[in-house]
Subunit: 118 residues, 2 copies
Amino acid sequence: MRIPILKLYECLLVSIQWELDDQTALQFQEDLLHKIHETNARGVVIDITSIDFIDSFIAKVLGDVIEMSKLMGAKVVVTGIRPAVAITLIELGIRLEDVSTALDLEKGLEKLQQELGD
Amino acid sequence: MRIPILKLYECLLVSIQWELDDQTALQFQEDLLHKIHETNARGVVIDITSIDFIDSFIAKVLGDVIEMSKLMGAKVVVTGIRPAVAITLIELGIRLEDVSTALDLEKGLEKLQQELGD
């Protein structure tokens, strides 16, 4: 299984709607970085509204892919972090530093467009 | 495997990036109709840029889901139909009547917004 990555103007949109297994998460990491390279995307919105629960491996992959995207020059906004996911991330020490967050995909895209407009 | 359906304002966006098997296609049909109901979406963009080849079953499911979405009040735009897919659809007699098409996701979304603005 692979997670589709949608290109919309200068941004990539990803909506993770089901719990990720380890293989899918790693595949997603690779796919996203390739897609950033291929499309010259300046921003990425990752929506995880549907994720109720996150384990330490997935949390690390998520943290890593955000750092990697930034290295490649793309701003990342993570949207729809649920309470349980927020708790897990902090408890695992994954700080998602300098990552913008927003309530939902629409607000995330608006935030990204504002930041890219600067 | 299920295909993520993204909600962006009044529209739903779907990007089918890998060949569908029959089960996934049927699941997608059901998921899309539920999502239209749940979100009151007025439009749907289905991007099939990555689909190189379509068989008769998938073509029928695609034709059906477009008709069903219209019955539920959502306009559908299909984007990124490749030559081989266009040939298959016409040869199978699936006309996708009254369905707007566009080159890519961005143009599809613009077309949908124009149509919804009427």
